[in-house]
């Protein structure tokens, strides 16, 4: 009886339950990050990876298409991770970006953001085509996912891609994010990533905010603000270009 009442409270307050659940998931991830990887893999990357693993568990147990959100107890995760809150939080991250500081940083930093988005998009799209995809919506969504795990779902949702394609784009973006975190300290000496100028370009080219924050923190904490600043613009530029100009180009080419 007590258990039923408890269950009912969690189901009736689904979104609140999701806050507790995600909070716990993030906490566990940051503990794993600190203890198992000594901070080398950013906690947010582990949390997202765990989220995808749990979505896989949820999908295989319920047979549904919404991952963990198919459990009635965790339906709130579907609301919290849905398009409305996701886009809301993305728009909010733009608040930290200072146009004046970016202007001062130089023309190259701005160009690096655009080149970064287009480069990752093209590489992702080429990989998608080489795996036999020909639908412009699918190719664009995967290309956008190679930019970041945010640009992918935003593009996919805007273009009407299916959930499994969106999941592919998230997986591509997550691979990128984790690789940027792990790879940056290793490759930094070879690519001259040791000045604020290079860090600005690095942030613009990589774009994945958690990847850049984690990667620079592991390389040289002093460089973090420079890379993070240009990276802040990346997702916005990606969300602007990928479902519009870049999609139209893909549609024209295929």
């Amino acid at each position: 009886m007590i258990l039923d009442a408890f269950n009912a409270v969690l189901v009736q307050n689904g979104l609140i339950t999701a806050f507790v659940f995600v909070g716990a998931l993030v906490w566990v991830s940051y503990q794993l990050s600190a203890r198992l990887t000594r901070g080398h893999i950013h906690g947010s990357a582990i949390a997202i990876a765990l989220g995808l693993v749990l979505a896989w568990v949820g999908g295989s147990m319920t047979g549904g298409s919404q991952g963990l959100a198919d459990f009635s107890l965790l339906a709130g995760v579907g609301v919290m991770g849905g398009a409305m809150f996701r886009d809301f939080a993305i728009v909010a991250t733009a608040f930290g970006a200072d146009v004046g500081a970016l202007k001062k940083a130089g023309f190259v930093a701005a160009v690096s953001v655009i080149i970064g988005v287009v480069l990752s998009f093209v590489v992702g799209a080429v990989v998608a085509v080489s795996f036999g995809y020909t639908d412009p919506v699918v190719v664009s969504t995967i290309g956008a996912g190679a930019a970041t795990y945010i640009v992918g779902p935003v593009t996919g949702t805007a273009l009407g891609a299916s959930s499994d394609v969106i999941a592919l784009s998230v997986a591509a973006g997550l691979t990128k994010s984790v690789l940027v975190m792990i790879g940056t300290p290793l490759i930094a000496p070879r690519i001259g990533l040791n000045t604020p100028h290079a860090a600005l370009i690095y942030g613009g080219l990589m774009g994945t905010t958690s990847g850049v924050a984690g990667g620079l923190a592991a390389t040289d904490p002093k460089l973090v603000p420079y890379g993070a600043m240009t990276a802040t613009f990346y997702t916005g530029v990606g969300c602007l270009l990928a479902p519009s100009v870049l999609f139209l180009i893909v549609r024209a080419v295929l």
Partner: protein, 123 residues
């Protein structure tokens, strides 16, 4: 007040998504075109504008800052509701796409770094 910040942020999102919808209609893709991007630009413009004319109060800023800080948890929730089962049937493609994008981007850093330093002294 916190609600002013949340309201400003909400207004920017609605306006941006509206512009994205109209633009999608105009170019005939029947989809939202860059709505989130427009919303971000609008928020940057409005928040920079207000810092010169009427400064946003810290409480107002915290209404936006809260949602900015919720970005990662929301992305975690987003990951947890994806159709991963379906994605894994062609899992290698996602991994190869991600790895290739990182490799190409890393390779581009020294190139842009050199161009930026050669032409101008903006250090």
């Amino acid at each position: 007040m916190v609600i002013y910040g949340v309201a400003l942020l909400s207004f920017c999102m609605l306006a941006g998504v509206f512009v994205g919808d109209v633009l999608g209609e105009l170019i005939g893709v029947q989809a939202n075109v860059g709505g989130v991007g427009f919303a971000m630009l609008l928020l940057i413009v409005l928040s920079n504008l207000s810092s010169k004319r009427f400064k946003l109060k810290p409480m107002t800023e915290s209404g936006i800052g809260f949602w900015s800080a919720m970005y990662i948890p929301i992305v975690v929730a987003m990951a947890a509701r994806q159709n991963v089962i379906a994605a894994l049937s062609s899992g290698w493609m996602a991994i190869i796409a991600g790895v290739a994008a990182v490799a190409a981007s890393f390779a581009m850093i020294p190139v842009l770094d050199r161009i930026g330093k050669g032409g101008r002294s903006d250090s």
